[in-house]
């Protein structure tokens, strides 16, 4: 019932995408996150994506300044941020424009717009507002002007802040969420502050809620699927930090870099409770070397970074590979090359992860595909690092790092932790690299262990760790270090195909595109196409059997967020075309004509774009 007693129809939706955008510092991010959390608590499927301005303090009311959150909520689990937004709440018309220009708004969608600008003292601003408003209406958007600030000031004449909590109340009312959960969430947000602040913000929340009930003649409801298990709502970096704890690692060495740093922030906060520490080194090289030192000394360590930092670590990683030191390296990829787009998503570091560094330095390369993966990948990576005594690179990206999604709350298992290193004095002096002739695996003497003394060196060495100049001994070391990847490959499970097990086309992906690819495949299958998708978590080594899997489909293509040349460019030929990273690897390995479609727009790929890409591939493929 609306405030004036008239029954307002409640429209039931299977899903909706909601954005809240403001100037940076106005709290749209907090609002969106809280909204996602409330919806998740009520059992909706939720995916939240941050809308991040590129600068710390972009100018107010500017296109590049848009800051906020996208929340996709649904009556089922969701795995990505979806296509265009159905509904946007904007604190000014410029940030709204920014989202429109970026193609992020569904045509005909609903807009709630702060109306105070219409009367702004600056006639330029008032004019700009009116123009945008008219444009949007003309373009068919359903624009609702909301006196956000005016209403807030009625509640709290002395403060200019809190508009975001008003909007939160409004959204809760609009989506028929439980206001009690909303008020609790507000209390959580300000938990560290004085209680008067909590109350004031709850007051604004209530005001927003009431305003919506009183003024809006429509409401939505999204069903909640029944839930049986507890879920946690985390972003990928938080999941990663908790994964580090869960793996039993005790040392993280890092140097700040966006978008990796928040993982280390969180870890800095909590790590000491398990006897761990985060070492902020003077640079990435030092961070990597500190981690190598820790691992050498028996405390397997992790170093967390993003692209530029990962490039800097190349030489040090070579030492770890050569010395067979277990080490976990996380690269939270961002836009490249060079400084690129520090806050944006890209998957441009795969080939460097596989082939970076001079000489043959075989590393294990994993890619997290979901937020849940970010957690478990740390446990897996540490185990692999210590089993194979080598470097394990875990690729995440800015999309996973900052998106939130519920996943089943992990239940701690003590075998996540590595067994304590064997510190018994070696019965007889042990060879540090007593390579197993079949697998290349070997022991790992640890300082303190009598009889295990050796000097780790980056020079070619024999099984004693002694420097060798002999050609055959040099090859022996290369061979064993490489064999370890083969040994792991034999242990890997064939990945499962999503969708049809054979048919017209197989899409292969890796990393954060998983949800969007699978959704795209679903949509096309619903349209009658027989297609499937495959998502690789192990990239080096790759699980076996991919060749057979690919053979089940007429065409194979990858979908990636890294550059590949466009065949419609005049100078680009099938011969000189630079392929996307994974496509190149698959082609080299399987000699299958794997095509690739990529976009490198700094944005997570939308299911809609992937649908189009696959559809046009299907169309052109069926012509030939």
């Amino acid at each position: 019932m609306s405030a004036d007693g008239v029954e307002v129809p409640v429209q039931s939706l299977s899903e909706h995408i909601v954005e809240v955008v403001s100037d940076s510092g106005e709290g749209a991010q907090k609002c969106g996150q809280a909204f996602g959390a409330i919806a998740a608590r009520q059992g909706k499927g939720v995916w939240t994506v941050e809308i991040i301005p590129a600068e710390i303090q972009p100018p107010a009311r500017s296109i590049p300044g848009a800051s906020g959150n996208r929340v996709r909520l649904a009556g089922h689990a969701v795995s990505n941020g979806g296509d265009e937004a159905d509904l946007v709440v904007a604190f000014n018309e410029q940030v709204l424009l920014s989202r429109w220009r970026a193609g992020e708004l569904k045509s005909g969608g609903i807009i709630f717009l702060e109306d105070k600008w219409r009367q702004d003292a600056d006639p330029g601003i008032a004019l700009a507002y009116a123009q945008v408003y008219d444009e949007l209406c003309a373009a068919g958007f359903r624009v609702h002007e909301v006196p956000i600030q005016a209403e807030c000031q009625r509640q709290r004449p002395d403060s200019a802040r809190g508009a975001n909590m008003f909007v939160l109340g409004l959204l809760c009312a609009l989506y028929s969420l439980n206001p009690e959960l909303g008020r609790k969430q507000v209390a959580l947000i300000f938990a560290a502050k004085e209680s008067s602040l909590i109350e004031a913000n709850q007051q604004l929340f209530d005001a927003g809620h009431a305003w919506a009930l009183a003024h809006l003649n429509f409401r939505f409801e999204i069903p909640s699927p029944p839930a049986s298990e507890p879920q946690v709502v985390l972003n990928g970096n938080a999941a990663l930090a908790l994964g580090v704890v869960a793996s039993g690692m005790e040392c993280c060495a890092m140097y700040p870099i966006t978008p990796a740093t928040t993982a280390s922030h969180y870890l800095s906060d909590i790590f000491e409770a398990v006897g761990g520490h985060v070492h902020q080194a003077e640079d990435e090289i030092a961070a990597c070397c500190y981690a190598i030192g820790a691992s050498y000394a028996g405390r397997c360590a992790v170093t967390i970074t993003s692209g530029p930092g990962y490039s800097l670590k190349q030489e040090a990683l070579g030492l770890a590979v050569m010395g067979e030191i277990p080490l976990v390296v996380v690269d939270v990829q961002r836009g490249g090359p060079s400084t690129g787009q520090p806050t944006k998503v890209e998957q441009g570091d795969l080939l460097q992860a596989c082939f970076g560094g001079h000489g043959d330095a075989p590393k294990i390369v994993l890619a997290a595909a979901t937020i849940e993966d970010c957690f478990y990948s740390m446990i897996t990576a540490r185990k692999l690092a210590e089993t194979f005594n080598t470097v394990v690179v875990v690729l995440s990206d800015a999309n996973l790092a900052t998106s939130q999604q519920p996943f089943p709350r992990p239940r701690f298992q003590s075998d996540w932790l590595a067994p304590p290193p064997d510190m018994d004095p070696a019965a007889q002096p042990q060879h540090p690299y007593a390579w197993d002739a079949r697998t290349g695996l070997g022991p790992r003497p640890i300082p303190g262990q009598a009889g295990g003394m050796y000097t780790l060196t980056g020079l070619a060495h024999d099984s004693h760790g002694h420097v060798v100049y002999d050609p055959d001994q040099n090859q022996e070391g290369l061979r064993y270090r490489s064999l370890k990847l083969a040994a792991l490959q034999h242990a890997l499970q064939r990945p499962e195909v999503h969708g049809d097990p054979d048919g017209e086309l197989l899409v292969i992906g890796w990393g954060s595109t998983k949800g969007a690819i699978e959704e795209a495949v679903q949509r096309l299958r619903a349209q009658g196409h027989r297609i499937g998708s495959l998502h690789l978590r192990f990239i080096q080594p790759m699980p076996s059997g991919l060749g057979e899997l690919m053979g089940q489909y007429r065409q194979v293509m990858t979908v990636e967020n890294n550059w590949c040349d466009r065949l419609d460019d005049e100078l680009i030929t099938p011969e000189n075309r630079r392929m996307s990273n994974l496509a190149l690897l698959l082609r080299a390995k399987y000699l299958v004509d794997v095509d690739c479609w990529s976009e490198v727009r700094g944005q997570p790929s939308k299911p809609r774009s992937i649908v189009q890409a696959i559809a046009s591939r299907l169309a052109s493929g069926s012509q030939t």
Partner: protein
């Protein structure tokens, strides 16, 4: 899983260690190379202190000098060029029970490793640091190092080095948290050994710059100083070094030096002729990095389980919540 308390194991016997117990292989330095004396001083220290070889770690970068860990019968890391310090820090902070030595060259430490050197001084991890300063790149065959003399002809400065040499002492003494800076020469083994001992006992980052002869490429570089003991200025202090009467007769150029006075230290550090040797500066009050990072609780399965529970609680949606 490993705990952060020192890893212990049953020691069946507690043997007495001789010098040979710390020796491994045949050092491959040129005859007359000062690195031999430095190696000997470390091995002598280990013997004197009866360090268990398996709890001793020598860490280095790349260079002739950085070959030292290969000749120590202990654990060791012969790392990559310039990065000995962060590797050593990672070892020591995670395993404070180990005795960690760092051996580095003037190129390794003062050129490519400069950032790590400065920050290692500031972190003040408990490391005994031997800077083998032969004023040249030895291993790569005679290129100018930052400490090469102005005018020195090398393969990269065929018409003479263009710059005045960097003074590692004055740089080190400018770094906040510096806690131990000494200088000595390879040709006075007893003094070298005294300083290594002081450095080892100092609970912090103890840097000894050792003027080291490289007969292969820098014949005569230090000859005038070797020949004339008066061109060596011995800094004496009760907490530093004092010459025994025998050495005192040879090295008569001596000076009382207050090793707690940083300004005095900086002044003396600037002098290159005579060469000041001894402990220039010591401050035992600077906390060591591993002390600052000492975990309050050890890592354990139960601590991990507890922390995960506590954190997940913050983010959990219980099925009950929306019923």
């Amino acid at each position: 899983m490993s705990s952060t308390t020192p890893i212990c194991f049953l020691r069946v016997e507690n043997p007495h260690h001789e010098i040979q117990d710390y020796q491994r292989g045949m050092p491959r330095w040129c005859p007359g190379c000062g690195d031999n004396a430095i190696l000997a001083s470390v091995q002598r220290l280990c013997r004197d202190e009866q360090l268990p070889p398996e709890k001793t770690v020598c860490v280095s970068g790349i260079g002739c000098s950085s070959r030292l860990p290969h000749y120590m019968n202990s654990y060791g890391v012969h790392g990559i060029h310039g990065r000995a310090f962060p590797i050593a820090q990672g070892i020591k902070v995670n395993r404070p029970d180990l005795a960690v030595f760092v051996t580095t060259g003037d190129g390794d430490c003062c050129s490519i490793g400069t950032a790590h050197w400065i920050h290692a001084l500031r972190y003040n991890t408990d490391l005994t640091v031997l800077l083998h300063d032969n004023r040249i790149y030895g291993l790569t065959k005679k290129q100018a190092s930052p400490t090469s003399r102005l005018g020195l002809r090398t393969n990269t400065t065929p018409r003479g080095a263009l710059l005045e040499p960097l003074n590692p002492l004055t740089v080190s003494l400018g770094v906040t948290n510096v806690s131990f800076v000494a200088q000595v020469v390879d040709w006075i083994p007893d003094l070298l050994h005294d300083l290594v001992r002081l450095a080892y006992h100092h609970k912090g980052f103890a840097l000894i710059r050792i003027l080291q002869r490289c007969p292969h490429f820098m014949d005569d570089e230090f000859e005038p100083w070797v020949r004339n003991p008066d061109r060596v200025l011995v800094l004496e202090h009760p907490d530093g070094i004092t010459l025994d009467p025998g050495l005192g007769k040879i090295y008569r150029n001596r000076q009382k030096h207050d090793l707690h006075d940083i300004h005095a230290a900086r002044k003396i550090a600037s002098s290159t002729d005579p060469i000041p040797v001894g402990l220039l500066y010591c401050n035992s009050d600077v906390p060591s990095y591993e002390a600052l990072r000492r975990p309050a609780v050890p890592n354990s399965a139960s601590a991990v389980a507890r922390l995960l529970d506590q954190e997940f609680d913050k983010f959990t949606i219980w099925p009950a919540e929306h019923e």
